[in-house]
Symmetry: C2
Subunit: 201 residues, 2 copies
């Protein structure tokens, strides 16, 4: 039962992070929602609130990382589809209360806080995974790097808009446009081809 309590608390922390940002995680709310006994807090998490926050961010990051790793059928467009599907489900299942816990932590913490550095690591992990997938599909390194950033940024931005306006439309729009972009890029930016001409911007 010990493990279960611990896990329930971290899962609840992720929920709160999704809904209200880092400051939404108060120990009171955490205990009430998770049903965990109050006395368990500092037993399971000697580092107190800080440790819980950190583990919640890590779990949030791992969820997406696993998602990317698991759908290893090679095709980047199929991968995008499963990521979009995951978020569509998360958003609707929660009644559009749940955003991305990693982004929440990044935004609602001081710029130099450990939590922001943690979020940075997670973004880098996701990006690395995507780059690997895109280059495996034949894209040159430069384009793959830019597209990986683009995918993460666009989807995260769309999630924010979806939660804000309680609709999956932004995600649908963004997923569609990313698909167009990926298709175009995969036609013209193969490994052997020269990198795209890029403007100053």
């Amino acid at each position: 039962m010990a493990r279960d309590t611990r896990k329930a608390m971290v899962l609840t922390a992720v929920e709160l992070l999704r809904e209200r940002g880092a400051d939404g995680i108060t120990l009171d709310t955490l205990v009430n929602r998770s049903g965990a006994p109050r006395g368990s807090i500092y037993h399971h998490f000697p580092g107190g609130r800080t440790q819980i926050l950190d583990e919640a961010v890590q779990l949030g990051g791992d969820t997406i990382a696993s998602l990317i790793a698991d759908s290893a059928d090679g095709d980047p467009i199929a991968l995008l589809d499963s990521i979009a599907a995951f978020w569509r489900k998360t958003l609707t299942d929660s009644g559009f209360t749940a955003g991305c816990p990693v982004v929440s932590a990044a935004i609602s913490s001081a710029p130099d806080s450990p939590l922001v550095r943690h979020a940075q690591q997670i973004f880098a992990t996701w990006r690395g995974q995507l780059i690997e997938r895109l280059t495996a599909d034949g894209l040159n390194a430069t384009t793959a790097g830019r597209l990986a950033t683009m995918c993460i940024a666009a989807i995260q931005g769309a999630i924010i808009m979806c939660r804000t306006e309680a609709s999956v439309q932004p995600l649908d729009d963004v997923a569609g446009e990313l698909q167009v972009l990926l298709s175009a890029r995969s036609l013209f930016c193969q490994t052997d081809a020269p990198a795209d001409r890029r403007g100053t911007t």
Copy 2:
């Protein structure tokens, strides 16, 4: 001096929102940073902290809205450039502490809070402005709508990544990819052309 104090307080509120989210705005910090006298709080803002939050979000939204309205040279790519330039400057000038106040407010507030609804309105305004610009450039309505969402989402996502990793690289990458996408779209999705084939996703 009254107006100045008031304005300074709202500007400081925007700063705090950018740096730490809604919960970063405490009246103590606000007064200390802005240099405003403590007694001015409820004099200038009878609605208290809530009112200050609201005005800060509004000001943040207006800043971008004016930016879009002011650079009315017609060309969507030029418009994107000025938006990207604005954020590049904001990020670097602040030492990568400042994100978008509207996004901050949206994320660090309860999903059903007035602040989130306010953020939604602002997103809608931006989107409307962009759509107008894209259709004026000849794009059909469907594509313009999707692209407008895409631009806002991708740039907002990029800003988050930039602030998190203290680099403008994500913004540069995203701006470049958006340019590619806009160019491709403007070639194939003019008003008279049929809407793009879109998949289930």
